[in-house]
Every structure is written in structure tokens, then in C-alpha cells.
């Protein structure tokens, strides 16, 4: 890695003081950015400039900065997480941009995710969906030896594919209906695939989809934008599985 040329970029960023403020776009310049900066490190640089000139820095959610906590949440040039395959904002690097680019940065936009400030939204509706049934009701202690529950490797792998979800909400932000079907479908499927999840499968899918509706999420009309937006590559087949589980539950 030798020294590289630096980039200058124009940022058009959504600024909104609080939930009641109408909000608007503001324009900033990002200077001396290298290809090795992560997108958030680029915003750090811009924020340091803003603070040094006495202005309020851009507020955004972030924490682990290694693509797993699900905290970061920005729509970049119209694509949740910036549109790079299987990549969160924090893992997006500036080598995907070039000198002179203009970049639009917005928060997740969905009815169920009210904006808190600038690029931060309230995603507690996703917690509400999990609280409605995204678990097995086992007690702490009093469970059998792990190897008494045998799970064929392909089933374990598929359940893990579903369990990859980091709960960031990009699927909702990417969906024209603001639906949380991929998020909910992933959890329903993970537990429906595993023997441990079967006893409560019917109640789970009913309760979780009901909570989804009550939280103000839309429904699925097969755009598959959620799968494109998902930084973990969670597949839309899990929505289909949830639908099957839902129909089965009507007869349970």
C-alpha cells in the first residue's frame, strides 16, 4: 500500500434537528480522503472540520465498525448501506468512489422508523417483533445435553443463513412498502428449521407477523429490494418459508 492521491467529494446530507423538525439537505465538502478511509472515517473527517469551525457535526449511528452490530444505517446515493454487495456502511470503503463525486446521504426512511436526529432513526419496532415470539421459551438450566438434539448439517447451515441477520433494518429501508418481511422471515425461518423451534412454530409466526403489522410495517409485493439491500445476504426464500409457516399455522 503506497501513498495514494487524495479525493475531494461533495456530500449532500440530510440534517434534521429532532423528530419534529422538517429537516433539509445541506452540502459539505470532504477533503483529503484516501481510498483506504472507510465511509464512516470519511464522515469523521468532515465532522472534525465542522466542529473546528463551530458547527454541529453530522449525527449518525455506528458502533462496532466491523459490520456486525447492525447499528450503522445510512442510505447512500439511494441505496441502503451504499449498495455494495454484502457490505454495511462501516465496511464500505472510499475506493468505491472517485475524486469529484457527489454523494447523497440520508437516513433509513420508513413509516415504522421515525427519524430521531440527522441520520439516526428509531428502530425499536424491530425489537417489538422479536419480543412477540422470536425465541424458544426454554428456561435457564434444565435443558438436555446439546448432542441429544441432532440436526442434519444442511439444516443447520440453512438455519445459520437465516440467523445471519444483524437487525440493521436495511431491508425495510430498501423496500418500497417499508416491509419488515425479510427481517421477520429470517427469524421465523431460523427457528422453524430447527427442532428446538418447532413446538412453538405456529404461535410464533402468527404473533410475529401480527406485531409486524401493528408496528406499521408494510407487506411484501415481491420486489426483492430487501435481499439486494441486506448486508448479510439473507435470501428472500425465507419470506416464502415464513408464508408457508403462516399458512400451516392457520390449520394448527
Amino acid at each position: 500500500m503506497s501513498e495514494h492521491k487524495t479525493m475531494t467529494l461533495t456530500l449532500i446530507v440530510w440534517r434534521q434537528k429532532n423528530a419534529n423538525d422538517p429537516g433539509k439537505f445541506e452540502t459539505y465538502t470532504a477533503k483529503e480522503i484516501t481510498e483506504h478511509h472507510s465511509f464512516l472515517e470519511m464522515l469523521d473527517v468532515v465532522n472534525e472540520d465542522l466542529i473546528n469551525t463551530g458547527k454541529e457535526p453530522i449525527v449518525f449511528d455506528h458502533d462496532c465498525r466491523e459490520g456486525i452490530c447492525g447499528m450503522c444505517s445510512q442510505v447512500i446515493n439511494g441505496a441502503p448501506h451504499g449498495g455494495q454487495d454484502r457490505t454495511t456502511v462501516c465496511q464500505l470503503h472510499m475506493r468505491k468512489f472517485k475524486d469529484g463525486d457527489t454523494i447523497y446521504i440520508e437516513p433509513w426512511r420508513a413509516r415504522a422508523f421515525p427519524i430521531v436526529k440527522d441520520l439516526i432513526v428509531d428502530r425499536s419496532a424491530l425489537d417489538t417483533i422479536i419480543q412477540a415470539g422470536g425465541y424458544t421459551s426454554c428456561h435457564t438450566g434444565g435443558v438436555p445435553d446439546g448432542n441429544t438434539i441432532m440436526i442434519p448439517k444442511p439444516i443447520a447451515e440453512e438455519a445459520t443463513d437465516a440467523a445471519e441477520c444483524i437487525g440493521c433494518g436495511a431491508c425495510v429501508a430498501g423496500c418500497p412498502n417499508g416491509a419488515a418481511m425479510l427481517f421477520t422471515g429470517a427469524k421465523v425461518s431460523q427457528l422453524a428449521l430447527l427442532p428446538q423451534g418447532r413446538p412453538e412454530a405456529a404461535a410464533r409466526v402468527k404473533n410475529m407477523t401480527e406485531a409486524m403489522k401493528e408496528c406499521g410495517f408494510g407487506n411484501c409485493t415481491n420486489h426483492y429490494e430487501c435481499q439486494v439491500a441486506c448486508p448479510k445476504g439473507v435470501n428472500v426464500k425465507f419470506i416464502a418459508r415464513m408464508n408457508r409457516e403462516f399458512i400451516k399455522a392457520q390449520f394448527a
Binding site: 500500500m1 434537528k17 429532532n18 484516501t34 481510498e35 478511509h37 472507510s38 472515517e41 469523521d44 472534525e48 466542529i51 454541529e56 457535526p57 458502533d63 462496532c64 465498525r65 466491523e66 459490520g67 456486525i68 452490530c69 447492525g70 447499528m71 454484502r86 465496511q91 470503503h93 475506493r95 430521531v116 439516526i120 424491530l126 425489537d127 422479536i130 419480543q131 412477540a132 422470536g134 425465541y135 424458544t136 421459551s137 426454554c138 428456561h139 435457564t140 438450566g141 435443558v143 438436555p144 446439546g146 448432542n147 438434539i149 441432532m150 440436526i151 442434519p152 448439517k153 443447520a156 438455519a159 445459520t160 440467523a163 444483524i166 437487525g167 431460523q190 427457528l191 430447527l194 428446538q196
Partner: protein, 638 residues
């Protein structure tokens, strides 16, 4: 003062069972009269809140993130240890205990480590029941992989995202209790003070990070599950929000801070790319199962592409120095060896701060497909960050601060010296000694949360009357006033330097002087420099905005202010410990071959520090360590 860990006596094999029987119980009808505060919702906090809620206690849980599912336990990649001995390769509870004590360089308590090893098996069962998708073999049984510091395969895993799956398991159990109403969850709250009434922990003061409002919460017991402090180095593998604030505030209210000098520098991280860098990314230690670590033998080769360097000119230094453990030598040893190679001028990449982790042999032996199945997501992550394809060219790695073995002092019941204050997981000091083995952090967090605190907190609560959640006591008001005055002070300095600049400066002092190799000179230098930086912070900090709104700079300023006090304690502890052990390496104390030289005669104790005021010398209390089951020996991995 000589501290008493209140460890059970008698045969170690019976110690936890006997202790559980001896602990007093709270009857089911009385449990709902008690309130418990749990701060932090990682593996320790999430598991504790869920389990305590299920038992019938009223739990109030707090996290600074927008959801309890985001705690940094989620980032653990490789796995979780348990003494199941499923592969029949010689494992047992005693062997897991032995490896943990030895791995920690004989600076942990035997009774605590026995208990951890014993309940490790329950953890796996619990997680399976929750639907955690562990890796399976083709027969459908649980699979294992190997990790550093062990000669058996005892690590359970879920791809390269074990922490995520275990945390989501704990989060699901917690969510169930939230729905049932036994746990009240407070998101986006940061604990900024511990409230102590008549010497007993009674509650906390929090800042609501959305509105800026300061809030009081009261309970019969407070559990801190707030993780470690290695963000004191600025660049670390921790999440950006990880801080020492909760435990440091408790220390300022009288809780002793134990062994702060024991920090783990993880050997396999992606090297720093530039000054602007905000954090370092870990690549799981499991990569060392199949990767071979090397540097060029000749200094003049460091600038060449790795594929241009022939086999005979490569130095696989871990395999050479530690033939029985090879690339799976413990973390402290691997990290120090990497530093040595780079210090000798044989490091690769920018600034010569990197070594190769090479998969060519494994790909030849096993195929690219198998390697992809085992580590695919890690290779992807590496490529996203560095733009290099590790299937074609070796990874470059370098050590980075990763974990804190030190933490608040607790007794065998996980209670600190402040009655009613319990400390779980990475936030306490108890089981890892001077160095933690891979895949043992997840084990400890879940052990403390699911299988220890539900018993030991009952033993305490059975001896006290429930006090309710009323926050009218003057100590709550006083705490709010104190926190408020600190916030106003931070906002009104109106200086010229940002919080990040101060944090970077502190990180450099810590890394250069209290990092992988420490000396009397470097530590004295740190103790001189930190107070100077701290003074500058309080005179020249610039924070925009107000306290009555979401203000991330203000949040960070509070955390850095605490690091600026805590860093000094870390340096003092390092200076006082005139020996090398585990992650604490004093250059004055090494064997002729460069290995760590312990001083068991003088330092076989836990060093727990009592806060005496900012800039004042803290007071050292000792808890002597006894080794009756695992005999003190020079740690060797050769």
C-alpha cells in the same frame, strides 16, 4: 488491607456444588419484592437480565445502543470453549481449568476457574435449546475446532460469527422476559454514576442519550456488565462506544479496580492503514488453525511481494520457537513474537508493522472450497478492508488491543467490595488472570450471566430487606447534581481541540508506554504525560451543541475524561508489578530467551486499587492467590 475472595474450601471438584447449597435462597413469592439493575446487555448482561427476570425478580436493564442486541459481544468471531470432550481427545473439566489457569500465567483464582470450567458444558446445552445454530458435523452432532493455548478441540462455533449467534440467543431470552414484563428495558441510556447509600449500592444515574435528561434508578442490587476498557488505547478492536465509564464511576464510589495492567493485545488484526483510522479490525484466532504465520528471513526481502520470497527465505517463527503449539501459541506470546519480528526490521507492509498469515499450504491440502467454508466471511471482510484476496496472497496481520483481563474486584459471589454491587463478564477481573485464552470470553460472559449470578445474587438478597425503587434519597439528588455539573463543565470549556484529538493523544501515550512491552522508564513517562494531557483536556476541549439533546461529542467527551483518569491507574499498576506475566510484559523481567519471567514469591496476588482522588496516589489492596490444584510452574508452550 488483605482482601478475602470468600472462596469455598475443600476439594475443588465439590467447591461450586457445595457453595450453591450453602447459599441462602429467596423464596419464589419474595423474589418479586426485589429489584435488580443490570447495566449492559452483552453476553453477561443479557444472560443475567433474562435469567434473573425469569426467576421472578424485577429487573431494569440498560444499554447505550438502540437495542440490546448490539452489544460488542456480537463481534466475537471464533467460538466458545466447553469441556464436553465430544471428540474424546482427552478433555475434562480439570483440563479446561488447567489450560485456563496456565494460559492466564497463574494469576487467576482457582475456585472461580473451576466453576467456569464446570458450567461451560451447561452453556452449550442452554444455547442449543435457544436455537443457536452451532456448527454441526455430517452426522448432525455438534462440531469442534481448536484454539490457542489448548491441545484439545473444545471450541464450539457458528461460522466466524459465534458471538453474534450467542448474543442473539441471550437477546431472544431477554426479549421473552421483556414481553412477559419481568424485565424493563431502557435503550440509549448511559450509566454516568453509581449511587451508594450508607455504603451499599442502591442505584444508578443515567443520561438519556436521545433527550439528554438525567435519570435516577434505584434497586436492591446493581449488576455492572459493561465490558472492558481497552479503548483507552484509542485504536482497538472494541466498538466505538465501549468505555471504562461505568466501572470507573463505580471505582470512584469505592469499588476496587483489580489488575488494570492486564490487557490483551490480540495477534491477528488488520494492520493500521493511516492516521485517520478510527478502529482496528480483528481477524478470528480460529484463522490460526489453518494459516501459517511468517516473515521474511532477510530484512532486504520485506519490500518484495510475498510470492516472490521462496520457501527457504521465510521464517515461520511461531513454528520454529514453539514446536508443540506452533501457530496456536497463546495470544500474548504470539503478539509479542510478531512485535519482535517487526522490531528486528522484518515486518511487512506500511511502516513495517505486519506479518504474513498464509493459507497457501492449507488450500493445497484441503482445497479452496474447504477453506472458504471455514473462514469465508473472514476472507470477505479482509478483502473489503484491504482490497486484497487472501486466497491468492497472504493476509497481513498485526497485534491490536482487544480485551481487558483486569476489571473491578469481585469475590467468589461476583460481588465487589461495595455491598450490593455485582460485576459480571469482562468488567470484572476474576477468571482470566494475566492473559485470556481464545474462546474463553464468551464462556465467561455466559457463565456469569446464566449460571453464577442467579445463585449468588440470591445469597446476598436473602440477607437484606427489599427497599423498593424510590429515588428520593439525597444521594440520588446529589449524584444527579454531580453528573450535571461535569456535563456543564465539558460543554463550557470552549477550547480548540476536539474529543477525538485528545483520545488519539491518550492512545499514543498508552500504546507507546503501556503497550506490548513496558519498562520502568516508559511507565514513569506515561504517569508524567497523562496528567498533563488531562489538564489540557479540561482547559482546551471543544464540544459543540448542548446537554439537552442527542450529542455524540458530549458522550465521547465524558468517556475520554474517564479514560484520562483510568489510564494513569493502568500505568501505575504496570509500574508496581515488577514481573512479567501474560499480557503484562516488563522488559526488565524476561528469561534469557525473551520469555516472560514471573515473580511468584512477590507478586502472586491480585492487585486491587482504591481510588483516592484524581491525581492522588491510589491505595493498593492485595488478595493472595493460592494454587492447590494446579501447581505453579513456568508457563511453556515449546
Amino acid at each position: 488491607m488483605i482482601l478475602d475472595g470468600k472462596c469455598p474450601t475443600g476439594p475443588i471438584e465439590k467447591s461450586w456444588d457445595k457453595h450453591r447449597f450453602d447459599l441462602k435462597l429467596v423464596n419464589p413469592a419474595n423474589k418479586r419484592k426485589y429489584n435488580i439493575i443490570v447495566v449492559g446487555t452483552g453476553l453477561a448482561g443479557g444472560a443475567a437480565a433474562a435469567s434473573l427476570g425469569e426467576l421472578g425478580y424485577n429487573v431494569q436493564a440498560f444499554c447505550y445502543q438502540d437495542s440490546p442486541r448490539r452489544a460488542h459481544s456480537i463481534a466475537a468471531q471464533g467460538g466458545i470453549n466447553a469441556a464436553k470432550n465430544y471428540p474424546s481427545d482427552g478433555d475434562s473439566i480439570l483440563r479446561l481449568m488447567y489450560d485456563t489457569i496456565k494460559g492466564g500465567d497463574f494469576r487467576a483464582r482457582e475456585a472461580d476457574v473451576w466453576r467456569l470450567s464446570q458450567v461451560s458444558n451447561n452453556i452449550i446445552d442452554q444455547c442449543v435449546a435457544q436455537g443457536v445454530p452451532f456448527g454441526r458435523d455430517y452426522a448432525g452432532y455438534l462440531d469442534n475446532r481448536s484454539f490457542g493455548g489448548a491441545q484439545v478441540s473444545r471450541t464450539f462455533y457458528s461460522r466466524g460469527e459465534t458471538g453474534q449467534q450467542l448474543l442473539l440467543g441471550a437477546y431472544s431470552a431477554l426479549s421473552r422476559q421483556i414481553k412477559l414484563g419481568t424485565v424493563k428495558m431502557y435503550n440509549r441510556r448511559e450509566m454516568l454514576d453509581l449511587v451508594v447509600v450508607d455504603g451499599v449500592a442502591r442505584g444508578i444515574t443515567c443520561r438519556n442519550l436521545i433527550t439528554g435528561t438525567l435519570e435516577s434508578y434505584a434497586a436492591d442490587a446493581v449488576c455492572l456488565c459493561t465490558g472492558g476498557y481497552v479503548n483507552v488505547f484509542y485504536l482497538s478492536t472494541n466498538a466505538k462506544g465501549c468505555s471504562v465509564t461505568a466501572t470507573w464511576k463505580a471505582a470512584k464510589k469505592g469499588a476496587f479496580f483489580a489488575n488494570p495492567c492486564y490487557t490483551q493485545i490480540h495477534p491477528t488484526c488488520i494492520p493500521q492503514a493511516g492516521e485517520y483510522q478510527s478502529k482496528l479490525t480483528l481477524m478470528s484466532e480460529s484463522l490460526r488453525n489453518d494459516g501459517r504465520i511468517w516473515v521474511p528471513k532477510k530484512k532486504e526481502d520485506v519490500g518484495k511481494r510475498p510470492e516472490q520470497i521462496p520457501e527457504e527465505d521465510r521464517d515461520y517463527y511461531l513454528e520454529r520457537k514453539y514446536p508443540s503449539f506452533g501457530n496456536l501459541a497463546p495470544r500474548d506470546i504470539s503478539s509479542r513474537s510478531a512485535k519482535e519480528q517487526c522490531d528486528e526490521g522484518r515486518g511487512v507492509g506500511p511502516g513495517g508493522r505486519g506479518v504474513y498469515l498464509d493459507y497457501a499450504d492449507s488450500i493445497k491440502r484441503l482445497s479452496e472450497k474447504v477453506i472458504c467454508e471455514r473462514y469465508g466471511n473472514l476472507f470477505e471482510m479482509y478483502e473489503r478492508i484491504t482490497d486484497d484476496n487472501a486466497y491468492k496472497t497472504p493476509m497481513r496481520i498485526y497485534p491490536a488491543p482487544h480485551y481487558a483481563m483486569g476489571g473491578l474486584w469481585v469475590d467468589y459471589n461476583l460481588m465487589s467490595n461495595v455491598p450490593g454491587l455485582f460485576v459480571l463478564g469482562e468488567a470484572n477481573f476474576s477468571v482470566h488472570g494475566a492473559n485470556r485464552l481464545g474462546a474463553s470470553a464468551l464462556m465467561q460472559g455466559l457463565s456469569d450471566g446464566y449460571f453464577v449470578i442467579p445463585y449468588t445474587i440470591g445469597g446476598y438478597l436473602a440477607t437484606v430487606k427489599p427497599v423498593g425503587t424510590n429515588t428520593d434519597h439525597v444521594e440520588f439528588k446529589k449524584s444527579i447534581e454531580d453528573v450535571n455539573s461535569t456535563i456543564n463543565k465539558l460543554l463550557n470549556i470552549n477550547g480548540k481541540k476536539t474529543v477525538t484529538e485528545f483520545h488519539r493523544d491518550l492512545g499514543k501515550i498508552m500504546w507507546n508506554n503501556v503497550g506490548m512491552a513496558r519498562s520502568k522508564e516508559s511507565l514513569t513517562e506515561a504517569i508524567k504525560q497523562i496528567p498533563v494531557l488531562r489538564d489540557e483536556f479540561w482547559k482546551n476541549l471543544k464540544v459543540t451543541g448542548t446537554g439537552a439533546e442527542l450529542n455524540q461529542q458530549l458522550e465521547n467527551a465524558g468517556r475520554v475524561a474517564d479514560f484520562l483518569e483510568f489510564g494513569e491507574l493502568m500505568a501505575r499498576d504496570s509500574l508496581h508489578r515488577e514481573e512479567s506475566c501474560g499480557g503484562h510484559f516488563r522488559v526488565e523481567h524476561q528469561l534469557p530467551d525473551g520469555e516472560a519471567m514471573r515473580n511468584d514469591a512477590d507478586f502472586s496476588y491480585v492487585g486491587a486499587w482504591e481510588f483516592k482522588g484524581v491525581g492522588k496516589e491510589p491505595e493498593l489492596h492485595k488478595e493472595p492467590l493460592k494454587f492447590e490444584t494446579i501447581h505453579l510452574a513456568v508457563r511453556s508452550y515449546k
